[in-house]
């Protein structure tokens, strides 16, 4: 049986002590919050930045939550409160003992309870000292007020400038991504089947997807440079220079022909109109197709033989050109540098050679006259082989055509990326990729435009137009024009052409990745190195 008087007193004591604990915890929470808020504000002000109110709110919330947590954890139960009351009110552990003895019925316990009740009648729970933590509350308040005061100060000029720059970069990076997405979509729509065969639209979309919205101008530039590098690599993979050179040589040889059809074919090859050249070659082959001369009308046969002569003239010239390129070079021809990989393992030179051999064989079979006896088996074999090689040759021509077109498109894309880079680093006020794509369509619609050319009070980018910062200091930095002594070194070059080409590419890439070089200069350097590369290969 619980003693009501004792229980009531104990409840009052518990409430009072826990209220006191709440005050103490609140005092500490306010003091710590004040310290943290002030430290938070000072750190931001030292960097010249406006103090973010969000941070202050978070700190205050956490302080409140931690304070409440501490209060709940340290909340005293009635046993602890009894011990405190016994000590503070000089009850000589009467309350603690009474709490335990309440449930017992022996005489001595009842006497103890009675004694405790009598003792408590002269005491009040209010006699327990509960001090307000005035010092910590006031100190915490003062510190918090100081932090709030610092919170009203604006950003310093430099910081504001940086933030504006970041915002601008962020919006521009977003705009670049959107524009590039549209650009690439149009790009893909316009791609022919041949181009799609050599350049995956999904890959293109992935490159654009890899661009991320960023506040960091340098990161934005780096992303664009990476994109450009991928485009350049793709362009490089489309190089079929050796095949093109073979075609060029063939064109030169065909130009010497007295046959108009052969000269026409050579002209088209020279102009890299591979698709048209393919058509011409196909027509020539169809016109000269014999199938079975024994069953043919003599007049028709005569016409066919005439056509075969023209075809032979063309193949002979082309094969000659291929042979002239040298047997040594044949060894080098292969799949390197993304060269054609014909299904039968022959490159363009070999195909031309093979076609001529077949055409010659066919002519030989005609001359032998076996077909008159009904034996056209060998001739058919030559014709079949010729058609097979022609099919492969034409296929390669189509691919070369596709690669050329894709290269041109990628070059456009690269030019677009250069525009984007200029836009990202503030050298241009408008991106205009879509405009570029829709060139000749009359620009934006009336009333639709942008006001980016409007000048604000200060430059959006400290680097815009600041030539000095781009130039650096004269006479400082490593010289790249050092003159070496003529007799220095061994005099023996150990570098192969491939190593040189790699070195050129590396130099170019490292240069285009730099953030501090204007895009125009980069473009110039790129073209220079590409030219150097081409020249070295041609040699």
């Amino acid at each position: 049986m619980k003693n009501e008087g004792i229980q009531k007193f104990l409840n009052e004591v518990t409430r009072r002590l826990n209220r006191g604990l709440a005050w103490r915890v609140a005092g500490w929470a306010v003091l710590i919050t004040g310290i943290v808020l002030l430290a938070h504000a000072i750190i931001y002000r030292l960097y010249g930045m406006e103090v973010p109110w969000g941070g202050a709110l978070v700190i205050s919330f956490y302080a409140l939550a931690i304070g409440a947590g501490v209060w709940l954890i340290r909340l005293r139960n009635s046993n602890e409160c009894a011990l405190v009351a016994d000590k503070e009110l000089d009850l000589k552990d009467s309350l603690t003992s009474a709490m335990e003895f309440e449930e017992k019925n022996s005489e001595v316990y009842k006497l103890q309870l009675k004694q405790t009740e009598n003792l408590l009648s002269g005491k009040k729970a209010g006699d327990l000292k509960v001090e307000l933590p005035t010092w910590s509350l006031v100190s915490g308040g003062v510190l918090a007020a100081a932090a709030i005061g610092l919170g009203f100060l604006p950003n310093s000029e430099a910081v504001q400038q940086r933030l504006d720059q970041e915002a601008l970069t962020e919006s521009r990076s977003e705009e670049i991504k959107t524009e590039l997405e549209k650009y690439v979509e149009e790009f893909i729509k316009e791609m022919s089947a041949d181009e799609k065969e050599v350049l995956s639209p999904e890959e293109l979309k992935k490159w654009v997807k890899d661009l991320k919205r960023t506040k960091d101008q340098k990161e934005a530039m780096r992303q664009l440079a990476r994109f450009e590098q991928k485009v350049t690599e793709a362009m490089s993979n489309m190089e079929a220079r050796k095949d093109e050179e073979a075609m060029k040589a063939a064109a030169a040889e065909l130009a010497k022909s007295d046959q108009a059809a052969a000269r026409q074919l050579g002209k088209k090859l020279e102009l890299k109109e591979f698709k048209a050249a393919e058509e011409d070659l196909k027509k020539l082959a169809e016109a000269a197709e014999l199938k079975d001369p024994g069953k043919m009308d003599p007049k028709e046969l005569e016409k066919k033989l005439e056509e075969l002569k023209k075809l032979r003239e063309a193949t002979k010239r082309m094969a000659n050109a291929a042979r002239k390129r040298g047997a040594g070079q044949k060894k080098k021809l292969g799949n390197a540098n993304g060269q054609m990989a014909p299904g039968n393992g022959k490159d363009m030179g070999q195909l031309m050679d093979a076609m001529d051999a077949d055409a010659k064989g066919l002519q030989g079979e005609i001359a032998k006259g076996n077909w008159k006896k009904g034996d056209w088996e060998k001739g058919m074999k030559f014709e079949k082989n010729f058609n097979k090689n022609l099919k492969q040759f034409n296929k390669n021509l189509r691919r070369m055509n596709g690669r050329n077109l894709a290269k041109r498109r990628l070059a456009d894309l690269r030019a677009g990326l250069n525009k984007a880079q200029r836009f990202a680093n503030g050298q241009a006020q408008a991106l205009g990729l879509a405009q570029g794509k829709r060139a000749g369509q009359g620009g934006l619609k009336p009333g639709v435009g942008n006001d980016r050319s409007k000048r604000k009070e200060r430059d959006e980018s400290p680097e815009v137009g600041n030539v000095a910062s781009l130039e650096g200091q004269k006479g400082v930095g490593p010289s790249i024009t050092a003159v070496e002594e003529a007799d220095s070194g061994t005099g023996i070059s150990g570098r192969s052409g491939e190593t040189k080409a790699r070195e050129f590419r590396r130099q170019m890439e490292s240069f285009v990745r730099r953030d501090d070089v204007p895009e125009d200069v980069k473009m110039g350097v790129k073209k220079y190195f590409e030219r150097v590369h081409e020249v070295s290969e041609e040699k």
Binding site: S94, T96, S97, E100, V108
Partner: protein, 327 residues
Amino acid sequence: MMTESIEARAGEFAVTFKKITDEVGKFIVGQHDIIENVLIAVCCGGHVLLEGVPGLGKTALVNTLAEALDLKFSRIQFTPDLLPSDVVGTQVLQESEGHRGLKFQPGPVFCNILLADEINRATPKTQAALLETMQEKRVTVANETHPIGLPFFVLATQNPIENDGTYPLPEAQLDRFFFKLTVELPNHDDFAEILNRTGGNTLPKIGAVANGDDIIKLGETLREIPIASEIQDHLVRVVRNTHPQNEKAPLKVKTYVRHGASPRAAQAMLSAARVRALLDGRFHVAREDVDAVAVPAMRHRLILSFEGEAEGISPDELIKSAIKSAY
């Protein structure tokens, strides 16, 4: 079987205790704490070791107490040549009705109050003769056990400064003492009062105010006083804190103590705290009762480490730190 209510017996306890204290106080000047603690030990049936330099009235206190209690009193002056048989008794050859036989001749321990004066002067063998007597309250001689009448308590004295020709009490024997009390030099006023009381031709007359039954009754009453588990935990914590192995023991204890107090010390503290509660008119034991009796109950039970002995650390100081860390 007691029929009186606990309230009445508690009242009687306080009255009897006060009567004895007052009676002793007629002769002994000051030393209130010593008198109270000796009486507490007597009520609890425990033995007391009184330590103090000569002339502070240790023997006088025991003599006076014996006079105030109507009990059989013996005194043994411990000397190096004292034999165990001089303490517990021996068998002597006696002739009775024409027959000669060995008969047990009880020693001075067969009494109610035994004053073992300068107990540390006897050899360990003789000191050991008291071991069984103090714990079991009986004597065994020639395979024959002789019980000692109750109440029985040993009040021993020893001089802490004279070490020549002394034999320190073994730990086992020290542990059998309920309290070890240190008798201090009286203050100026008490000094003057001692001279006044003892300087004349007459000495204060001490009369018996209680007997053995009263003492036994007091012991029964005090054992009915309950102790809350929270307070008992405090008592256990205090005792455990004197052990250097205990994690919560204070650093001093860990550094200077080799062995802490035994469970027997906790029993002694509980009994003594109950007496204090009764004397304060309470029906429960408080932590302050436990704390008040901790020093006399444990100071002789702590075994100091080499560092403690070398530094001259007082066990009282260590016990106080153990109490402090128990809160």
